[in-house]
Amino acid sequence: MKRLLFAAVVFFSAMTVTAYADLSLGDPLPNNAAGVKMKNVDGRMVSINDTKGENGTLVIFSCNHCPWTNAWKHRIAFNGNWALGKGIGVLMINSNDPSQFPEDDFDGNVQRAKDTAIQFPYVVDSASKVARVFGAKKTPEFFLFDDEGKLVYKGVLDDNADDQNAVKRRYVEEAVKAVISGQPVATPETRSIGCSIKYRDE
């Protein structure tokens, strides 16, 4: 009985670790992801390092097929454009394998960037390496680093995907404002339902 329980505990903890071993608050911008050059909608190759802002950097994992990213797409564009104006570097990344979702290919990114008038790069994570290093599991998901490159917020854009008129908390906006004014982020980590990222083969 005890042995069974022990086995169950080991099994459960092993599952927990593999299910959510990702970047934690306070971690530095990971070197093995920050330098990865990815193809932007304008054809240029861009890395997270290239897009760093003087006040911080916002990395957004998104895609084009997911109903949640679709529900949020204009708010994502608006918040990203706004953060850019505040001296925050913004980079949106699509790490999905387009063989599973055709609209998540380069052309889909170009279309999405045009539809939502984003002023920040939207790039193809062609080996899903950046998502893997970050431990990004779903879209949309936001990672905000401060001016020293430390992770100060990870999670969702706001607290209501379905109805933007019912939004009560704008987590990313709050975090960006805190970072700019040198204050700690009040809610540094949030959870939400989203589409799992279908990693490409390595």
Binding site: L4, L5, M15, A19, Y20, K137, S192, I193
Partner: protein
């Protein structure tokens, strides 16, 4: 020869007159029957708090909670095996809760999906903030779907799987708790 053409012409005129009303009548009744079945599936909105309470109050050795959405392809792929397990293990005290995370406006599609899959109740629709909901089910869950959570008779989370499961992964989790449904 001319007469044959006449007959053919007659058939072509008369046949649609006979067949069309019959066919449309038939599809009408089939549609009505389908609609009835679709409405028969109860989908109840559930907050994180209510779901936790329901899991604890359910008189079952094992409660498996599957979180899904109609628009999630891997969710749809694994759904038939969940329904199969639900039927196979119902009599030995394993209960399945299906919690859709579709937007409320998508409720008709949720009902239709559950009916088509022949899922037994109870079926729920996530209500309230995501953050509470995700944390209530498991602190280790990223929020990506599908996700399946296996609770024991005391409502303690014993196993959890994020992403599509194989049949073996599902049965391993359920059988492990079924062997020892009272956590100590």
């Amino acid at each position: 020869m001319k007469r044959d053409f006449f007959h053919l012409g007659l058939v072509m005129v008369v046949l649609p007159l006979v067949l069309v009303p019959a066919a449309s009548g038939c599809s009408r009744s089939r549609k009505a029957a389908k609609q009835e079945a679709v409405q028969a599936v109860q989908v109840t909105p559930v907050t994180a708090e209510a779901l936790t309470r329901l899991i604890r109050q359910t008189q079952a050795s094992v409660v498996a909670v599957n979180v899904w959405a109609t628009w999630c392809a891997p969710c749809a792929e694994e759904f038939p095996q969940l329904v199969w397990f639900q039927k196979q293990y119902r009599d030995v005290g394993v209960k399945f809760f299906f919690v859709s995370t579709d937007f409320e406006s998508n409720l008709p599609a949720v009902r239709e999906f559950l009916t088509r899959q022949k899922a037994q109740g109870p079926a729920y629709l996530k209500a309230g903030p995501d953050d509470e909901f995700v944390r209530a089910l498991s602190p280790s869950w990223s929020g990506a779907i599908p996700a399946t959570f296996v609770f024991d008779s005391k409502g303690i989370l014993r196993h959890f799987h994020e992403g599509k499961m194989s049949e073996k992964q599902l049965s391993d989790m359920i059988l492990d708790v079924l062997k020892d449904p009272v956590s100590s």
